[in-house]
C-alpha cells in the first residue's frame, strides 16, 4: 500500500509542478489543484497508513492518529478557498488585460 500511495503522490506532485510552469492561467490553476491534492494526501499519510482502525484510544489494540486528519481538513478548506480565489483572479486578469497569460506580453520596467 505504501508503494502505491507514494507513487500516486509523486505522480500528482509532478503533474502539478509541470502544469504550474505553463504560461497560461488555466493550466496553472489546475496545477495548483493537483499539487494541493498531493499535499493533502501527504499530510494524511504523516499519521502512518492504516485501515479499519478507529481514531479513538481504547477501542482497539492500535489506533489511527487523528491529528493528521484534522490537519488535512484545515488544509483542504484553505486550499479550496485559495483555488477559488485564484480562479476569480485569473478571470479578472483576463478581462482587465485581454489575454490569459500569466506574464504580461511586454513587461514594464
Amino acid at each position: 500500500m505504501e508503494l502505491l500511495y507514494s507513487m500516486v503522490l509523486g505522480g500528482l506532485a509532478a503533474a502539478g509542478v509541470y502544469l504550474l510552469l505553463r504560461g497560461r492561467t488555466f493550466p496553472v490553476v489546475v496545477g495548483l489543484t493537483l499539487l494541493s491534492y498531493a499535499v493533502n494526501l501527504f499530510l494524511f499519510a504523516t499519521g502512518r497508513l492504516a485501515t479499519g482502525l478507529p481514531a479513538v484510544i481504547g477501542h482497539s489494540e492500535t489506533y489511527a492518529d487523528p491529528l493528521p486528519q484534522a490537519l488535512v481538513l484545515t488544509a483542504i478548506v484553505i486550499g479550496f478557498a485559495l483555488t477559488a480565489l485564484a480562479v476569480i483572479l485569473a478571470l479578472a486578469a483576463l478581462s482587465a488585460s485581454g489575454h490569459d497569460g500569466v506574464d504580461d506580453e511586454k513587461e514594464q520596467p
Binding site: 504550474l20 496553472v28 491529528l67 484545515t74 485559495l82 480565489l85 479578472a92 486578469a93 488585460s97
Partner: protein
C-alpha cells in the same frame, strides 16, 4: 492565567468580523470601530513588552497542557515584533482614513484580519498554527493588494497569489514531514525531540527544515525568491504597501524562530541547518536590492527595492548566529520596518499630489506644494534609510558593521553594506531631485497637501527618532531577547513545565 497574550488576536478578530457585517455605506461607524481596535493594540503590545521582559508568557488555549493543546508563547522577540507591527498598523490606518478606505469594499475589515494574521504568527508556539496564521495574513493581503482594482494591481496580484499558494503547499509538506518524524507540532516539544532524534532521521529532518526555511524565504523575499515583491508592493495602495512592510519581517521572524528554537544549538548535526547558505543568499539579496533601487523607474518601486535591501541586511545579520549579531539585527529590523512604512506613505502622498497620470514615476511633474516641508520629510526619511547620521539607520548599520567577525565575512559584508549604501544614496538623490527640482510649472498639480496623511508618515519618522534617543535601553532589551533566542532553555521550560530541566530527555 493571564489573558493578555490572546488579546492581540481577539481584538482584530472581533473588530474585523463586526465590520464585515456592517453595510458598506456606514463608513463612519467602521472608522470608529477600526480606530478603537487600532489604538487598543498599542497599550496591549506595550503590556506584553513589559510582561515578556520578566519571562516567557505562555497562554494555553482551552487550558490543555502543552504539547497536547495549542499554545501562544510570548517571549521578548514576539512582544517586540508585536509592538513594531502595532505602531506601523496605526500609522497605515491613519493614512487610509483620508479616502483610501473608500476605493473598495471591506477595507477596514480586511485590514483587521491582516493584523490578526500578523499578530498570530508572532504569538503562536505551534508550527501548524503558524501555517494557519500565515494563511490568514496572506488571504487578507491578497484582497488588500487588489483593493482599488486597477489593472496593474490585478496583474501583480495574480503573480503574488499563485506564488504564495505554491509556497503554502511547500509549507504543508514541511510541517507534515516534521510531524511524521517527531510526532508533535509544538515548537518547543519539537526542539526537544529533534535534539534526541536518532542520527538516521537527520537527513529527512534536515530536508523538512530546509524546506521550511525556503518557504519563509519566499515570504521574506530573499534571493532568488524576491521577484514577486517589487511589482506587488509598488502596485498596492499606499497604506496597504506600508502595512506590507511588516510582512517580509514575518518571514524573517519565522526563520529566526525556527532556526534558533527547533534547529538551534542542541539539534546536533542539524544545528545551524542553513546558516551558510543563508549568509550567501542574504548578501546577494542585499546587492540585488541596491541594483534594483538604482534602476527603479518610480518612487514606489524604489521603496519596494529598499525593502529588499533591508531584508538582505537582516538575513545576513541573522545568519551570523551570535547574540550580538541578533541584537543588532533586531534593532535594524525595527528601524527598517518603520522607515519603509514611512517611505511608502510619503510615496503615496507624492503620487496623489502629482496626479494619477504621472504618479510616482521619475519624470518631470507638476511642482509639489509646500516643497520645504515635503522635501524636508523626504530628506529625513532618505537619510535614515540610507544609513547616514544622525538618524536610526546610521545606528543600525553601525551596530551591524561592528559585530561582524573579522575575516572573509567582514570583507564581503562591508563591501555589500557600504557599497550598497552608496547605490541607495545615489538612487534616493536621483528620486529627490526629480521629484522636487525637475518640475514643469505648466502642469497642474492634482491635489493639495493633506495634513493627516503626512502626519501618518511623520508618526513613523518620529518613532524612528525615538529609536535613536532610546537606543541604550532598547539595546539592553534586544540583547536579552537575543540571549534567550540563542539559548532557548527558558522558552522550552516555560512552554513545557513538565519536562523542565530534562533537556534532551523527552519521552
Amino acid at each position: 492565567m493571564n489573558h493578555l497574550p490572546i488579546l492581540p488576536i481577539l481584538i482584530p478578530l472581533f473588530a474585523g468580523a463586526i465590520m464585515a457585517m456592517i453595510p458598506g455605506d456606514r463608513l463612519p461607524l467602521k472608522r470608529l470601530i477600526s480606530s478603537l481596535a487600532a489604538f487598543l493594540q498599542i497599550p496591549v503590545a506595550v503590556g506584553l513588552l513589559i510582561g515578556a521582559g520578566g519571562g516567557v508568557l505562555v497562554y494555553r488555549l482551552g487550558d490543555w497542557p502543552a504539547p497536547f493543546g495549542i499554545i501562544l508563547a510570548v517571549d521578548r522577540l514576539s512582544a517586540l515584533m508585536l509592538f513594531v507591527a502595532s505602531i506601523l498598523a496605526a500609522a497605515a490606518w491613519l493614512y487610509a482614513l483620508r479616502g483610501d478606505d473608500r476605493q473598495g469594499r471591506g477595507f477596514h475589515a480586511l485590514f483587521q484580519f491582516q493584523i490578526m494574521g500578523i499578530f498570530g504568527a508572532f504569538l503562536t508556539g505551534d508550527l501548524f498554527n503558524l501555517f494557519v496564521f500565515f494563511e490568514i495574513l496572506l488571504i487578507a493581503s491578497y484582497a488588500l493588494l487588489l483593493h482599488g482594482r486597477t489593472t496593474d494591481r490585478i496583474r501583480a496580484g495574480l503573480h503574488y497569489v499563485l506564488l504564495n499558494i505554491f509556497g503554502s503547499s511547500l509549507f504543508l509538506i514541511a510541517v507534515g514531514a516534521l510531524y511524521a518524524m517527531t510526532g508533535t507540532l509544538n515548537m518547543a516539544d519539537m526542539a526537544l525531540r529533534i535534539a534526541s532524534a536518532p542520527p538516521a532521521d537527520a537527513p529527512l529532518l534536515g530536508a523538512a527544515g530546509t524546506l521550511l526555511i525556503i518557504v519563509f524565504g519566499l515570504k521574506a523575499a530573499v534571493f532568488p525568491l524576491y521577484f514577486w515583491l517589487p511589482r506587488a508592493y509598488a502596485a498596492a495602495a499606499a497604506p496597504v504597501a506600508a502595512l506590507f512592510a511588516i510582512m517580509t519581517k514575518v518571514g524573517l521572524y519565522s526563520i529566526l524562530r525556527v532556526h534558533t528554537l527547533i534547529f538551534g544549538a542542541d539539534a546536533g548535526d542539524l544545528s545551524g541547518l542553513v546558516h551558510e547558505a543563508l549568509w550567501i543568499v542574504a548578501l546577494i539579496t542585499l546587492v540585488a536590492g541596491c541594483i534594483g533601487a538604482l534602476g527603479a523607474a518610480s518612487l514606489e518601486r524604489l521603496v519596494a527595492y529598499l525593502v529588499i535591501v533591508s531584508v538582505g541586511t537582516i538575513a545576513a545579520g541573522l545568519a551570523l548566529q551570535t547574540p550580538e549579531a541578533i541584537a543588532a539585527t533586531l534593532y535594524y529590523l525595527i528601524h527598517s520596518t518603520w522607515i519603509a512604512g514611512a517611505l511608502f506613505l510619503l510615496a503615496g502622498e507624492f503620487a496623489r499630489m502629482r496626479g494619477e497620470a504621472i504618479g510616482g514615476r521619475f519624470v518631470p511633474g507638476p511642482p509639489l506644494p509646500r516643497p520645504m516641508l515635503l522635501g524636508g520629510l523626504f530628506f529625513a526619511a532618505a537619510v535614515s534609510v540610507a544609513g547616514m547620521p544622525p538618524l536610526s539607520g546610521f545606528i543600525g548599520k553601525l551596530l551591524l558593521l561592528s559585530i561582524v567577525p573579522t575575516g572573509w565575512q567582514t570583507v564581503f559584508f562591508y563591501a555589500a553594506l557600504l557599497g550598497g549604501g552608496l547605490l541607495v544614496i545615489t538612487a534616493l538623490g536621483r528620486a529627490g531631485s526629480t521629484l522636487f527640482w525637475r518640475t514643469d510649472a505648466r502642469l497642474p498639480g492634482a491635489a493639495g497637501c493633506d495634513a493627516v496623511r503626512l502626519s501618518a508618515a511623520v508618526l513613523l519618522l518620529t518613532a524612528g527618532v525615538l529609536l535613536v534617543i532610546l537606543a541604550q535601553p532598547l539595546m539592553d532589551y534586544l540583547e536579552a531577547a537575543a540571549a534567550s533566542l540563542i539559548d532557548p532553555k527558558e522558552y522550552i521550560r516555560a512552554v513545557l513545565p513538565a519536562v523542565s530541566g530534562a533537556k534532551g530527555g523527552a519521552p
